[in-house]
């Protein structure tokens, strides 16, 4: 991938992000923040790449593994916690006793 096309990717990605969130009800600010936060754990792919390309370099393997751990902590925790919050909203219809 040439640097220029990567810059295009960056630009279009940013525009997409700006466009995606137009109106958010305040109710969803916290879950949205938490969900977006989980997505930022996408660096796990970078960590994986690092480990795969380490070619037996043990310090690099360890750095990659720790990085992967941090990223997955972010991703798994983030999605679970978002789901927990959102579960409370979707429970509403069943509660009219």
């Amino acid at each position: 991938m040439s640097f220029i096309s990567l810059l295009w990717v960056l630009l279009l990605g940013s525009l997409l992000g700006l466009e995606l969130i137009g109106k958010v009800p305040p109710t969803l600010h916290t879950p949205l923040m938490s969900g977006a936060n989980a997505i930022s754990g996408i660096t796990m792919l970078a960590a994986l790449t690092l480990i795969v390309k380490a070619e037996g370099n043990v310090p690099l393997l360890i750095i990659g593994s720790v990085s992967l751990g941090f990223a997955l902590f972010n991703v798994v925790g983030g999605f679970f916690v978002t789901d927990r919050m959102l579960a409370m909203f979707s429970r509403k219809p069943s509660n009219k006793k």
């Binding site: 991938m1 279009l12 990605g13 940013s14 997409l16 992000g17 700006l18 995606l20 969130i21 305040p26 969803l28 600010h29 916290t30 879950p31 949205l32 923040m33 969900g35 977006a36 936060n37 989980a38 997505i39 930022s40 754990g41 996408i42 660096t43 792919l45 970078a46 960590a47 480990i51 390309k53 380490a54 037996g56 690099l60 393997l61 750095i63 990659g64 593994s65 720790v66 992967l68 751990g69 941090f70 990223a71 997955l72 902590f73 972010n74 991703v75 798994v76 925790g77 983030g78 999605f79 916690v81 978002t82 789901d83 927990r84 959102l86 409370m88 909203f89 979707s90 429970r91 509660n95």
Partner: protein, 479 residues
């Protein structure tokens, strides 16, 4: 193009599409939960795509598998446990912690690549390419470190582990932060000049900068800071994408970065603060202590729980205004019991949710949803404000600044211009509060001095429990 490349290409495209749909869906109540799962699915799909690509091309060594599995299991396990165990009241801190770890991950990747350059691409040295590489490594480390230390400080402050040190409220902090910023710039140029060891300087100074910038910020602004740091972690991920040459990372990181920025802007608007004043203005309380906002209360009416119960019994329409105090007292379930009794007595009950009630936008909605409050009863500020004149009783539970009429009347007040709930328009206002301490902003609340306001002193949960008892004695809600 061979097969693994095509497969990865298709999977990456699909993952980007699903992630975008996920973020989009998360901004609507109906679709939010499914959207979150969709995003989670897209993330796992992207991992499958990456691994199958390497399996199909260079192969993955056993040793790599071992380290992948170790890292994955430990990270996922801790993340899942924390997400399940953490109480709903400490959501902001939890998001901050997760966010910080995302930043740390980007930092480590960049550090790893900087110390041990990846194989391939280094054979034919290309000045332009190596420059881009160094710049993206530096950005990834710089932003990653700020995200990490900033988020940890934010978490510690929200948890009450850290207070705001006095010196951070003086002008000294600007000087200190500028020194850190300049030092990171020096480290950055030194790194590009080929001095690899200055990478450590960059790590240290940008970490300190993250601490220095976050430490002076007062609590009410914390959600904004967390949202901003969330945006940073997206930028860090995008920078890491340049480091390892991954389009998917760049797109996803850029999306999160931009979306986080928008969300930050929305939050700032809700508090009538500009991002600049949040970041550089220091905590609100420090400014206001000198201004006209702090005065003595002259006309406080305090009343007993019994009186409160009697007034409630005679009401037709009651509006509840929840705030952070409710979350701290964990009184949401007790509150629900009170409102159930009132409803059974034919009294209309509505909850007025200020956009920044609590410590985080949406905090109150989450809290009340946990206590099974029907979603339709939660009204946003603009919807509920015209209703106050026709309301008999307003119960203010642990909210303060969001019901301060100063924001409308007193142009010298630091709160002036912030949208507030017009509770003073109601016939009677009860403020349930532990004492006369000021709210988050540290500003006197004119509401308490008004003749139609009565203070009920006590812990929210205890007062509400007593209220249930009193209502029971009055026969409210028992047919």
């Amino acid at each position: 193009m061979n097969l693994p490349v095509i497969i990865k290409f298709v999977i990456d495209l699909l993952a980007v599409l699903l992630l975008a749909l996920g973020i989009k869906g998360l901004s609507k109540v109906k679709s939010a939960r499914d959207a979150n799962r969709l995003a989670a699915f897209a993330m796992s799909l992207s991992v499958v795509g990456l691994l199958s690509y390497y399996l199909g091309t260079s192969g993955i060594a056993i040793q790599s598998w071992i380290w992948i599995i170790i890292g994955s299991i430990i990270g996922s396990l801790f993340g899942a446990i924390l997400a399940k165990k953490v109480p709903m009241t400490s959501m902001p801190e939890t998001v901050a912690l997760f966010n910080g770890c995302g930043g740390m991950s980007s930092l480590l990747v960049a550090l790893g690549v900087a110390i041990f350059p990846l194989s391939g691409g280094q054979e034919n040295f290309d000045f332009f390419k190596s420059l881009i590489n160094e710049v993206s490594i530096s950005v990834s480390i710089f932003v990653g470190a700020i995200t990490f230390t900033g988020s940890i400080v934010a978490m510690a402050k929200l948890q009450g582990w850290l207070s705001t040190p006095g010196w951070t409220q003086s002008k000294v902090r600007h000087f200190v932060n500028i020194v850190f910023a300049v030092a990171s710039l020096i480290a950055f140029f030194d790194l590009i000049n080929g001095n690899t060891s200055s990478i450590w300087l960059l790590v240290i100074v940008s970490s300190l900068l993250g601490i220095g910038v976050t430490l002076p910020i007062g609590g009410a602004d914390m959600p904004v800071v967390i949202s901003l740091l969330n945006s940073y972690s997206g930028i860090a991920a995008a920078a890491a994408g340049f480091v390892v040459d991954s389009q998917l990372l760049i797109v996803a990181g850029a999306m999160v970065g931009a979306a986080g920025l928008i969300l930050t802007q929305v939050m700032c608007k809700g508090m009538n603060r500009s991002l600049v004043s949040v970041l550089f203005g220091g905590s609100l309380s420090a400014q206001s202590s000198a201004s006209s906002g702090s005065g003595e209360y002259t006309n406080i009416t305090s009343c007993s729980v019994e009186e409160c119960a009697l007034t409630l019994e005679a009401a037709n329409k009651v509006i509840i205004v929840p705030g952070y105090g409710l979350a701290v007292a964990q009184a949401q379930h007790t509150l629900r019991e009170v409102t159930k009794k009132l409803e059974q007595n034919g009294i209309e009950v509505v909850y007025a949710i200020h956009p920044v009630a609590g410590r985080m936008p949406g905090h109150m909605n989450v809290l009340l949803a946990e206590a099974d409050v029907p979603y339709e009863q939660l009204k946003e500020m603009d919807v509920v404000n015209p209703d106050f004149p026709a309301t008999d009783v307003v119960l203010v539970l642990g909210a303060n600044d969001v019901v301060n009429p100063q924001a409308k009347n007193d142009s010298s007040s630091p709160l002036y211009g912030m949208p507030v709930l017009d509770v003073q328009e109601a016939r009677t206002v009860f403020v349930i509060k532990r004492g006369m301490s000021a709210g988050y902003s540290g500003i006197k609340n004119d509401l308490f001095d008004l003749p139609n306001t009565s203070m009920v002193f006590g812990d929210a949960k205890k007062v509400l429990n007593d209220l249930i008892g009193e209502l029971k004695d009055l026969g409210v809600g028992e047919k």
